[in-house]
Symmetry: C2
Subunit: 384 residues, 2 copies
């Protein structure tokens, strides 16, 4: 269902020949209205890909009629010529659809530092437009995969005849701010641009911004939310925000579960922090500790590595009041040896680490993966 | 030669039975004077091991008569009882040598969160004292190894009959502030505590603080510099500082070359930065990028990952003015594609990455290693 679960949207996914292996590599998502409202959140990396620079401009207008997405090349670090390629992609899409280029968002994903094969991409846009369908959501989701092993879609239904649907890609370079991913969400709810923006920012803050597979922030991250208003229903802001959050959370979990080379999904919950910022800082520090990620891979409840990661942060805590549980066993109490580590069962894919800062009442959950030889293998051979 | 290259020092390294495998695990370094001046630099991790808390206190007095070091256990996150163990270690050393416990520094390295076997450690101190010798430096260096494959020593000679010598251990959990390592430096130069402190801080700032093998900061890092004054020569401050820096630099290089599982040593030079802090921040961000570290392992000159790492920093730069060279080939110019990446030869162990921020005149060098399946293997099985 994906981006076409909501009324007022068509989508397509085709093989334009951008990828050498002939797999689908070009997707179109078109808002057929009546509304064209949209909001977007982009990577906070200061080195931004051409499509991010372009789409940020487009989103400032608050209207998006179509999104064109390609895999097989990130069009990042490609200079002024790369930006011209993105511009030409938007122009071609607008021409084919009879829209304005200023309302066409562009997303790209793949290798950094390589120009896109425009001689194949531009003709592909015409082909994709011909394939547009109200049932094209899954094909669009498939066409944006890179190292993803599965395509990712999610849908949440409102109480009064509207839905939020979405698709995502991403499997590596996953880190807050945001993860290396492209996400397009659509809704047929009748919501204006400020309403979309508020719901999207709050949703990404506690979902995509809290998955950190490998600590590496991408140049291309983009999350778009498009509203067609085609249901004719204007939902209550709170219910709408919750539906957007639910879809983002579902997609974020799918990203973590498909992370490159991972064999474990690690849920890090920081509790009793003095503030939410402290909880997030501590959670990210634990999530980025390579030694801990290796230990989890080896099913070793090495809580000392959790404490040494906490110790590098500026969060409020006293070292001798810290407690750590791994899969429910409090292996560290008061900064020292707690329950018997032999009690910890780490055979299953999900591993839960709880870090109790004993400094307040705030909490946060950060998700990461283990570090494996497969991750090294996949990422030492990616561009070769 | 190690810590006994300087006159006025004796040392020993023995097997006390702390390690189950019977390898040497206890070292003693004794300053026989006439001076007992000393300076120390410790981990900036807020979770500090008991021996760090103890030795920080000792160093505040500015005098160290002996250092007792054990491998086979870090005595970190062991609570008040762990601190009592460190205290008892210093007391026993003082008793055996006829010194004051308040002048005995203690260093421990090994697994976090496990109490030391004091029933074997304390008798070992007597045995080590009996083995003290002006030729014991190498044996002491061997006894502090954990996952190190070789022991590490270095010596620099002054122009007028004094020397600085040292030993180091460390192979993982290597990151600035400081790396997971124990370092003892000795000199027979006649230098007082403030002189030692100034020379040591400046030396560690640009050596140990700029190696970042795996981004993980330890609970036990300690660098001590002891002066006996036995040469009777008071060197010029600048020459002395340079000798201390040279020994630190030599030992830091040995740590990087012996890093766990590494197949490449990566020298990251950030040039044309607006300030030294900017250069260091950018260098560390590159050094901690797992994707880049994997790419180097695969001998893939993936400069896009360098740019995406630079983009996460707050340093002054314009994305479209960044240049990156790998092994001398400027594969990225003006933030975009530069020379042919096929020209980059990455077959050798040392890989040089130059990041030109085009924003000023400052520079810094940070060293790291590649990320390998061997690193994952070694660190997923360490405590099991």
């Amino acid at each position: 269902m994906s981006v076409t679960a909501a009324k007022g949207f068509t989508a397509a996914g085709i093989a334009a020949g951008i990828k050498d292996n002939g797999n689908p590599d070009l997707a179109l998502v078109v808002n057929t209205g009546p509304r064209l409202a949209a909001a977007g959140v982009f990577t906070s990396n200061r080195v931004k890909a051409a499509p991010v620079l372009w789409s940020e401009q487009v989103l400032r207008g608050g209207q998006v009629s179509a999104v064109v997405l390609n895999s097989g090349g990130a069009n990042a670090c490609t200079g002024p010529l790369g930006f011209q390629d993105t511009h030409a992609t938007a122009e071609k899409t607008a021409e084919v659809l009879g829209h304005s280029a200023g309302e066409v968002a562009v997303c790209s994903t793949g290798l950094i530092g390589v120009r896109l094969p425009m001689d194949r991409l531009l003709p592909g846009i015409g082909k994709a437009a011909e394939a547009l369908s109200p049932h094209g959501g899954d094909r669009a989701a498939i066409a944006i995969k890179t190292t993803d092993t599965v395509h990712k879609t999610a849908v949440a239904e409102g109480s009064s005849g509207w839905v939020v649907g979405g698709m995502a890609k991403g499997a590596g370079m996953l880190a807050p701010g945001l993860a290396t991913m492209l996400v397009v969400l659509t809704t047929d709810a009748d919501v204006d641009t400020p309403g979309l923006d508020a719901a999207l920012r709050e949703a990404t803050r506690t979902t995509f911004d809290r998955i950190d597979s490998d600590g590496c922030m991408s140049t291309n991250d983009t999350v778009l939310l498009l509203a067609s208003g085609a249901s004719g229903v204007a939902p209550e802001a709170k219910e709408f925000a919750e539906a957007v959050r639910a879809v983002c959370d579902d997609l974020a979990q799918q990203l973590i579960r498909d992370a490159e080379g991972a064999s474990k999904d690690i849920r890090i919950e920081v509790v009793n922090a003095a503030g939410e910022d402290d909880a997030v800082e501590v959670g990210r520090s634990i999530a980025r500790n390579n030694l801990l990620k290796c230990a989890v891979h080896g099913e070793d409840p090495n809580w000392g590595r959790v404490l040494s990661a906490i110790g590098t942060t500026s969060a409020a805590f006293e070292p001798d009041r810290l407690n750590v549980a791994i899969n429910g066993v409090w292996v560290c109490r008061d900064g020292s040896v707690g329950e018997d580590r032999e009690l910890v069962d780490m055979r299953y894919r999900e591993v839960r680490i709880t870090a109790d800062l004993a400094a307040g009442e705030k909490s946060a959950v950060i998700w990461t993966n283990d570090l494996t030889a497969d991750y090294v293998h996949e990422n030492s051979a990616y561009s070769s």
